[in-house]
């Protein structure tokens, strides 16, 4: 692992240059909020953004994605047979993604890529993406990422971790993939050399580790909300499932999909066919455990008929079932989007603590 220092003056030129070999995705302000989307030519990622309104999971798990196309015209060749939709898996770089959002991709990967089945749409898109992440110097008040085995400076799921430091970005190069992007941006030479080779880029001195540690400690100390889930692991599924607090917790919940759609780790989806004339597509769409349609049987029977049962499912999945199934912590990176956006103030931090400490 190497750290280089990139002068902000040459940053945007480098980003633009990397476009020759990458499709670029980054945070841009769209009306009130920042969103991740493909950057048009000449468009720069906004490196001063706080948080994107929706998580960037759509980079590899779009809200709606065509899987197959088909033709219902009996005169057509191969009619009624699913054909693969054309895909573009050329290299993509997502610039400015928050470390905890990048971490969420690791969690989604547990679901979409396992020894039994691999979702090709996810796997291909994830593999072709390079994560040029931006550390969070000033976490906002909803951030509780440090409680979730990640944090504002977490470098475990990124290819490059950028740290905003005065007039420079300190770039922690974590993987070869990351180095390849820095090369493409012209921040390093082809064989990864830096010193003196590129104007505006220098190898960081020894003191840089301390500086980054300091910035990291500063950032982490600004995060005030904490959750704990150590005791959730020990309790039995049925004990928490049958706990008396669920109806009370869920009373205010509108069962809308705001939390599930903005969440970087919610992975549930639906498969739908859409036909226009004789041609059609089969698509994979985000779905939400909050809707009754998610689980209702064709007979009309619904195992999660009541609103509060659906709310319970969401939190049981994230905080208990996931822990038990994968033994890799909880299915939450502490980004705080659901807390900030919930119309009814359903707060996962409270609920987690209640599950942890409650009877």
């Amino acid at each position: 692992m190497k750290i280089i220092k990139i002068d902000k003056k040459i940053w945007s030129d480098g980003v633009e240059k990397s476009r020759d070999s990458y499709r670029l995705i980054g945070p841009v302000k769209d009306r009130e909020f920042h969103q991740f989307r493909e950057l048009a030519k000449g468009e720069q990622p906004d490196m001063n953004y706080k948080n994107s309104r929706l998580s960037p999971k759509s980079i590899a798990f779009p809200q709606s994605e065509t899987m197959f196309i088909y033709d219902l015209d009996e005169k057509a060749e191969e009619h009624h047979i699913m054909q693969d939709a054309e895909k573009d898996y050329s290299p993509r770089a997502v610039i400015g993604i928050r470390p905890y959002d990048a971490k969420a991709f690791k969690i989604l990967d547990l679901n979409f890529n396992n020894s039994d089945y691999q979702d090709p749409y996810w796997v291909n898109a994830y593999n072709c993406t390079t994560f040029i992440s931006l550390a969070v110097n000033s976490p906002d008040k909803f951030d509780f990422s440090t409680s979730c085995a990640t944090g504002p400076f977490d470098d475990s799921a990124v290819d490059v971790l950028l740290v905003d430091y005065n007039d420079s970005y300190l770039a922690k190069i974590m993987t070869d993939k990351g180095l390849a992007w820095l090369n493409a941006a012209g921040f390093t030479t082809k064989n990864g050399e830096i010193d003196g080779a590129v104007t505006g880029v220098s190898e960081a001195g020894e003191d840089i580790y301390e500086i980054i540690e300091k910035l990291k400690a500063d950032a982490e100390s600004k995060i005030r909300s904490k959750i704990s889930f150590d005791k959730i692991k020990e309790k039995s599924i049925l004990d928490i499932f049958n706990a008396p607090f669920w109806e009370d917790i869920a009373f205010a919940c509108l069962n809308c999909g705001t939390c599930t759609y903005s969440c970087p780790t919610c992975w549930c989806f639906d498969i739908q066919d859409e036909t226009n004339g004789r041609k059609g597509i089969r698509q994979k769409n985000w779905d939400s455990c909050m809707t009754p349609l998610f689980t209702v049987h064709a007979t009309g029977h619904n195992p999660r008929h009541n609103d509060w049962e659906r709310t319970r499912q969401r939190f049981m999945h994230k905080l208990k079932y996931f822990q038990d199934k994968y033994n890799q912590g909880i299915m939450c990176v502490g980004c705080g989007r659901c807390v900030e956006q919930c119309p009814a103030n359903i707060d996962i931090r409270n609920i987690c603590n209640q599950m942890n400490n409650g009877e």
């Binding site: 009306r31 759509s58 590899a60 065509t66 196309i69 573009d88 226009n276």
Partner: protein, 168 residues
């Protein structure tokens, strides 16, 4: 434009206008072949879902016709429909649909002549407007190139401008 033949989805009540269409047929009154008739028990049965569905699936215009007020087979169905249609028409136009795309009429089963006449007028009015522009479902195709992004239309900040103006 002269080659454009509009497709009109026509929703007729079983008791009056459907009879009128029949009468126009057997009486050999000429009317254009652009209308596709759907028969419903009563104009009161017509739901806005049906109108939007027609546009989704490529209709250039929609024409709804039932019994004259007072003649409803179900006594009052068309009175209720009338209020609903007025709101529907105004709301469609508010959403941007041109006034000439959607038509309403009361035609009794004895009015074969009126049926043919209104059919001609409806088709002509939609022909003038040209092919439908709004509420059409797009051709289905691979949408990968845009699907990795959150939808957005950075060039069009119309809503923002107008809302800001309103806030000011």
């Amino acid at each position: 434009m002269s080659e454009f033949e509009p497709k009109i989805i026509t929703i007729l009540c079983n008791w009056c206008t459907y009879g009128a269409a029949d009468l126009a047929g057997v009486s050999r009154f000429q009317y254009p072949p652009n209308i596709r008739v759907i028969r419903v028990p009563c104009s009161g049965r017509v739901s806005p879902k049906m109108i939007l569905s027609a546009f989704h699936n490529g209709a250039d215009g929609v024409w709804i016709s039932g019994c004259h007020p007072g003649d409803c087979h179900y006594i009052t169905g068309n009175y209720y429909a009338r209020r609903k249609f007025m709101l529907l028409k105004n709301f469609l136009e508010y959403n941007g649909i041109e006034p000439g795309r959607i038509h309403f009429s009361w035609i009794s089963s004895a009015e074969g002549v009126k049926f043919a006449e209104v059919a001609r007028d409806v088709v002509e009015s939609v022909r003038q407007l040209g092919p439908a522009k709004y509420f059409i479902k797009k051709e289905l195709d691979d949408n990968d190139l845009c699907s990795c992004l959150n939808k957005s239309n950075p060039d069009n900040n119309l809503a923002k401008n107008i809302l800001e103006e309103q806030a000011a």
